[in-house]
Protein backbone atom coordinates (compact mmCIF):
# COMPACT_ATOMS: atom_id res chain seq x y z
CA UNK A 1 0.00 0.00 0.00
CA UNK A 2 2.95 2.32 -0.52
CA UNK A 3 2.03 3.76 -3.90
CA UNK A 4 0.89 7.09 -2.49
CA UNK A 5 2.00 9.83 -4.82
CA UNK A 6 2.08 13.40 -3.43
CA UNK A 7 -0.45 15.50 -5.27
CA UNK A 8 -2.34 12.48 -6.55
CA UNK A 9 -5.86 11.88 -5.26
CA UNK A 10 -6.42 8.97 -2.96
CA UNK A 11 -8.56 6.47 -4.77
CA UNK A 12 -9.69 3.02 -3.73
CA UNK A 13 -8.44 1.56 -6.99
CA UNK A 14 -4.97 3.03 -6.52
CA UNK A 15 -4.66 1.61 -3.02
CA UNK A 16 -6.22 -1.81 -3.64
CA UNK A 17 -4.22 -2.80 -6.69
CA UNK A 18 -1.25 -3.82 -4.54
CA UNK A 19 -3.45 -6.04 -2.39
CA UNK A 20 -4.59 -8.23 -5.27
CA UNK A 21 -3.64 -11.89 -4.72
CA UNK A 22 -2.84 -11.16 -1.05
CA UNK A 23 -4.54 -12.59 2.00
CA UNK A 24 -6.88 -9.98 3.49
CA UNK A 25 -9.04 -9.51 6.54
CA UNK A 26 -12.29 -7.78 5.65
CA UNK A 27 -14.66 -6.46 8.32
CA UNK A 28 -18.27 -5.90 7.28
CA UNK A 29 -20.79 -3.47 8.73
CA UNK A 30 -22.64 -6.30 10.44
CA UNK A 31 -19.44 -7.15 12.37
CA UNK A 32 -18.48 -10.22 10.36
CA UNK A 33 -14.80 -10.87 9.76
CA UNK A 34 -13.86 -12.55 6.49
CA UNK A 35 -10.37 -13.77 5.65
CA UNK A 36 -9.60 -14.58 2.03
CA UNK A 37 -7.45 -13.88 -0.99
CA UNK A 38 -8.38 -10.71 -2.89
CA UNK A 39 -8.74 -11.62 -6.56
CA UNK A 40 -10.47 -8.56 -7.96
CA UNK A 41 -12.13 -5.22 -7.20
CA UNK A 42 -13.74 -2.34 -9.04
CA UNK A 43 -14.33 1.41 -8.74
CA UNK A 44 -16.95 0.88 -6.00
CA UNK A 45 -14.52 -1.28 -4.01
CA UNK A 46 -16.71 -4.28 -4.68
CA UNK A 47 -14.41 -7.18 -3.80
CA UNK A 48 -13.91 -10.76 -4.91
CA UNK A 49 -12.45 -12.97 -2.17
CA UNK A 50 -11.37 -16.54 -2.84
CA UNK A 51 -10.87 -19.40 -0.35
CA UNK A 52 -12.62 -17.28 2.24
CA UNK A 53 -13.17 -18.25 5.84
CA UNK A 54 -15.43 -16.47 8.29
CA UNK A 55 -13.68 -16.04 11.64
CA UNK A 56 -15.77 -15.54 14.76
CA UNK A 57 -14.08 -14.08 17.83
CA UNK A 58 -15.42 -14.41 21.37
CA UNK A 59 -13.03 -13.28 24.10
CA UNK A 60 -9.67 -14.95 23.48
CA UNK A 61 -11.18 -17.75 21.40
CA UNK A 62 -11.93 -17.90 17.71
CA UNK A 63 -13.51 -20.32 15.28
CA UNK A 64 -13.27 -20.58 11.48
CA UNK A 65 -16.06 -21.46 9.05
CA UNK A 66 -15.01 -22.21 5.45
CA UNK A 67 -17.10 -20.13 3.05
CA UNK A 68 -15.50 -20.17 -0.43
CA UNK A 69 -15.86 -17.31 -2.92
CA UNK A 70 -17.44 -14.01 -1.95
CA UNK A 71 -18.49 -11.07 -4.11
CA UNK A 72 -18.81 -8.33 -1.50
CA UNK A 73 -20.69 -5.14 -2.32
CA UNK A 74 -18.23 -2.38 -1.45
CA UNK A 75 -20.59 -0.23 0.61
CA UNK A 76 -20.78 -2.95 3.28
CA UNK A 77 -17.06 -2.97 3.99
CA UNK A 78 -15.83 -1.20 7.13
CA UNK A 79 -12.15 -1.95 6.74
CA UNK A 80 -9.76 -4.32 5.10
CA UNK A 81 -6.13 -5.06 5.69
CA UNK A 82 -3.42 -7.36 4.48
CA UNK A 83 -2.47 -10.22 6.76
CA UNK A 84 1.21 -10.63 7.57
CA UNK A 85 1.75 -14.31 6.83
CA UNK A 86 4.87 -14.39 9.02
CA UNK A 87 3.05 -13.12 12.07
CA UNK A 88 -0.45 -14.50 11.72
CA UNK A 89 0.35 -17.64 13.73
CA UNK A 90 1.74 -15.67 16.66
CA UNK A 91 -1.58 -14.25 17.89
CA UNK A 92 -2.26 -15.10 21.56
CA UNK A 93 -5.67 -16.58 20.79
CA UNK A 94 -6.84 -20.17 20.86
CA UNK A 95 -8.77 -21.81 18.07
CA UNK A 96 -11.86 -23.80 19.04
CA UNK A 97 -14.27 -25.92 16.98
CA UNK A 98 -17.04 -24.17 15.04
CA UNK A 99 -19.84 -25.60 17.19
CA UNK A 100 -18.14 -24.29 20.30
CA UNK A 101 -17.59 -20.78 19.01
CA UNK A 102 -21.19 -20.55 17.75
CA UNK A 103 -22.45 -21.43 21.23
CA UNK A 104 -20.09 -18.90 22.81
CA UNK A 105 -21.22 -16.28 20.30
CA UNK A 106 -24.88 -16.86 21.09
CA UNK A 107 -24.22 -16.66 24.82
CA UNK A 108 -22.33 -13.41 24.36
CA UNK A 109 -25.17 -11.95 22.31
CA UNK A 110 -27.81 -12.98 24.85
CA UNK A 111 -25.75 -11.55 27.71
CA UNK A 112 -25.45 -8.27 25.84
CA UNK A 113 -29.20 -8.16 25.22
CA UNK A 114 -29.87 -8.79 28.93
CA UNK A 115 -27.48 -5.98 29.91
CA UNK A 116 -29.10 -3.65 27.40
CA UNK A 117 -32.58 -4.46 28.69
CA UNK A 118 -31.53 -3.87 32.28
CA UNK A 119 -29.84 -0.60 31.40
CA UNK A 120 -32.90 0.62 29.50
CA UNK A 121 -35.13 -0.29 32.43
CA UNK A 122 -32.95 1.60 34.90
CA UNK A 123 -32.82 4.64 32.61
CA UNK A 124 -36.57 4.49 32.07
CA UNK A 125 -37.18 4.35 35.84
CA UNK A 126 -35.06 7.49 36.19
CA UNK A 127 -37.24 9.25 33.65
CA UNK A 128 -34.89 9.07 30.66
CA UNK A 129 -36.13 8.49 27.15
CA UNK A 130 -35.10 5.02 25.99
CA UNK A 131 -36.53 4.94 22.48
CA UNK A 132 -33.02 4.69 21.01
CA UNK A 133 -32.44 1.23 19.62
CA UNK A 134 -28.91 0.26 18.75
CA UNK A 135 -28.28 -0.17 15.06
CA UNK A 136 -24.87 -0.91 13.54
CA UNK A 137 -23.73 2.65 14.41
CA UNK A 138 -22.17 3.23 11.00
Amino acid sequence: MDNFVPGAFFTTSASLVDSVDRKLLVVLRDGRKLIGVLRSFDQFANLVLQDTIERIYVGDAYGDIPRGIFIIRGENVVLLGEIDLDKEDEVPLRQVPVEEILIAQREEMEARQRREKLKNKLLHDQGFSVDFTETDLY
Binding site: S13, L16, V17, V20, D21, L28, R29, D30, V37, R39, S40, F41, D42, N46, L47, V48, Q50, D51, I65, P66, R67, G68, I69, F70, I71, I72, R73, N76, V98, L102, Q105
Partner: protein, 125 residues
Amino acid sequence: MLPLSLLNTAQGHPMLVELKNGETFNGHLVNCDNWMNLTLREVIQTSPEGNRFWRLPECYIRGNTIKYLRVPDEIIEMVKEDAVRQRQATGGGGRGRGGSRSGGGGNSGRGEVFDVIFNISYYDY
Protein backbone atom coordinates in the same frame (compact mmCIF):
# COMPACT_ATOMS: atom_id res chain seq x y z
CA MET B 1 -11.85 -10.04 -14.16
CA LEU B 2 -14.03 -7.47 -12.40
CA PRO B 3 -16.49 -8.49 -9.68
CA LEU B 4 -19.46 -7.86 -11.96
CA SER B 5 -18.00 -9.92 -14.82
CA LEU B 6 -17.60 -12.77 -12.35
CA LEU B 7 -21.28 -12.32 -11.57
CA ASN B 8 -22.09 -12.45 -15.29
CA THR B 9 -20.15 -15.69 -15.62
CA ALA B 10 -22.13 -17.11 -12.73
CA GLN B 11 -25.38 -16.92 -14.68
CA GLY B 12 -27.20 -20.23 -14.58
CA HIS B 13 -25.34 -21.35 -11.47
CA PRO B 14 -26.47 -21.66 -7.87
CA MET B 15 -25.57 -18.82 -5.52
CA LEU B 16 -26.36 -17.37 -2.15
CA VAL B 17 -27.32 -13.71 -1.82
CA GLU B 18 -27.37 -11.99 1.55
CA LEU B 19 -29.16 -8.66 1.82
CA LYS B 20 -28.13 -5.83 4.11
CA ASN B 21 -30.99 -6.73 6.44
CA GLY B 22 -29.61 -10.27 6.85
CA GLU B 23 -32.17 -12.10 4.72
CA THR B 24 -30.60 -14.72 2.46
CA PHE B 25 -31.70 -16.06 -0.91
CA ASN B 26 -30.47 -19.39 -2.28
CA GLY B 27 -31.18 -19.95 -5.92
CA HIS B 28 -29.97 -20.17 -9.50
CA LEU B 29 -28.94 -16.89 -11.07
CA VAL B 30 -31.01 -16.18 -14.16
CA ASN B 31 -29.82 -12.69 -15.01
CA CYS B 32 -27.94 -9.70 -13.63
CA ASP B 33 -27.08 -6.18 -14.76
CA ASN B 34 -24.46 -3.47 -14.17
CA TRP B 35 -26.26 -2.31 -11.01
CA MET B 36 -26.04 -5.79 -9.48
CA ASN B 37 -29.82 -6.21 -9.83
CA LEU B 38 -30.52 -9.93 -9.99
CA THR B 39 -33.20 -12.39 -10.96
CA LEU B 40 -33.10 -15.82 -9.36
CA ARG B 41 -35.08 -19.01 -9.91
CA GLU B 42 -35.99 -21.85 -7.53
CA VAL B 43 -35.25 -19.72 -4.50
CA ILE B 44 -35.16 -20.51 -0.81
CA GLN B 45 -35.49 -17.36 1.27
CA THR B 46 -34.27 -17.37 4.88
CA SER B 47 -35.18 -14.83 7.56
CA PRO B 48 -32.34 -12.82 9.19
CA GLU B 49 -32.59 -14.98 12.32
CA GLY B 50 -32.34 -18.12 10.19
CA ASN B 51 -35.46 -19.66 11.68
CA ARG B 52 -38.02 -19.11 8.90
CA PHE B 53 -37.91 -20.26 5.31
CA TRP B 54 -39.87 -19.59 2.16
CA ARG B 55 -39.75 -21.20 -1.27
CA LEU B 56 -40.11 -18.82 -4.19
CA PRO B 57 -40.31 -19.99 -7.81
CA GLU B 58 -38.50 -16.82 -8.87
CA CYS B 59 -37.47 -13.47 -7.42
CA TYR B 60 -35.95 -10.12 -8.31
CA ILE B 61 -33.40 -8.44 -6.04
CA ARG B 62 -32.49 -4.78 -6.35
CA GLY B 63 -28.72 -4.45 -6.40
CA ASN B 64 -28.37 -1.79 -3.75
CA THR B 65 -29.99 -3.99 -1.07
CA ILE B 66 -27.26 -6.63 -1.39
CA LYS B 67 -24.57 -7.20 1.25
CA TYR B 68 -22.68 -9.97 -0.50
CA LEU B 69 -22.98 -12.90 -2.90
CA ARG B 70 -21.46 -16.35 -2.57
CA VAL B 71 -20.79 -18.28 -5.76
CA PRO B 72 -19.44 -21.81 -6.40
CA ASP B 73 -15.63 -22.17 -6.46
CA GLU B 74 -15.73 -23.38 -10.09
CA ILE B 75 -16.81 -19.96 -11.34
CA ILE B 76 -13.28 -18.55 -11.01
CA GLU B 77 -11.96 -21.15 -13.45
CA MET B 78 -14.80 -20.46 -15.87
CA VAL B 79 -14.14 -16.74 -15.87
CA LYS B 80 -10.50 -17.43 -16.80
CA GLU B 81 -11.66 -19.56 -19.74
CA ASP B 82 -14.03 -16.78 -20.77
CA ALA B 83 -11.14 -14.31 -20.72
CA VAL B 84 -8.96 -16.57 -22.86
CA ARG B 85 -11.78 -17.01 -25.36
CA GLN B 86 -12.33 -13.27 -25.50
CA ARG B 87 -8.61 -12.60 -26.02
CA GLN B 88 -8.53 -15.09 -28.86
CA ALA B 89 -11.61 -13.50 -30.40
CA THR B 90 -10.13 -9.99 -30.33
CA GLY B 91 -6.63 -11.22 -31.12
CA GLY B 92 -5.11 -8.78 -28.65
CA GLY B 93 -2.94 -9.33 -25.59
CA GLY B 94 -2.79 -7.17 -22.52
CA ARG B 95 -4.68 -7.29 -19.27
CA GLY B 96 -7.47 -5.15 -17.95
CA ARG B 97 -7.11 -3.17 -14.77
CA GLY B 98 -7.56 -5.24 -11.65
CA GLY B 99 -7.34 -8.39 -13.71
CA SER B 100 -6.41 -11.59 -11.97
CA ARG B 101 -2.74 -12.47 -12.00
CA SER B 102 -1.57 -16.00 -12.61
CA GLY B 103 -3.50 -18.63 -10.62
CA GLY B 104 -1.63 -19.18 -7.39
CA GLY B 105 -2.96 -20.75 -4.21
CA GLY B 106 -4.65 -24.09 -4.65
CA ASN B 107 -8.33 -24.42 -3.89
CA SER B 108 -9.30 -26.60 -0.99
CA GLY B 109 -12.58 -28.33 -0.49
CA ARG B 110 -13.84 -27.83 -3.99
CA GLY B 111 -16.87 -29.94 -4.76
CA GLU B 112 -18.28 -29.36 -1.31
CA VAL B 113 -19.33 -25.91 -2.36
CA PHE B 114 -22.88 -26.87 -3.27
CA ASP B 115 -23.36 -28.55 0.08
CA VAL B 116 -21.92 -25.52 1.78
CA ILE B 117 -24.15 -23.14 -0.12
CA PHE B 118 -27.30 -25.05 0.51
CA ASN B 119 -26.52 -25.74 4.16
CA ILE B 120 -25.42 -22.22 4.93
CA SER B 121 -28.44 -21.40 7.09
CA TYR B 122 -27.19 -24.02 9.53
CA TYR B 123 -24.21 -21.83 10.32
CA ASP B 124 -25.77 -18.45 9.89
CA TYR B 125 -26.66 -16.29 12.81
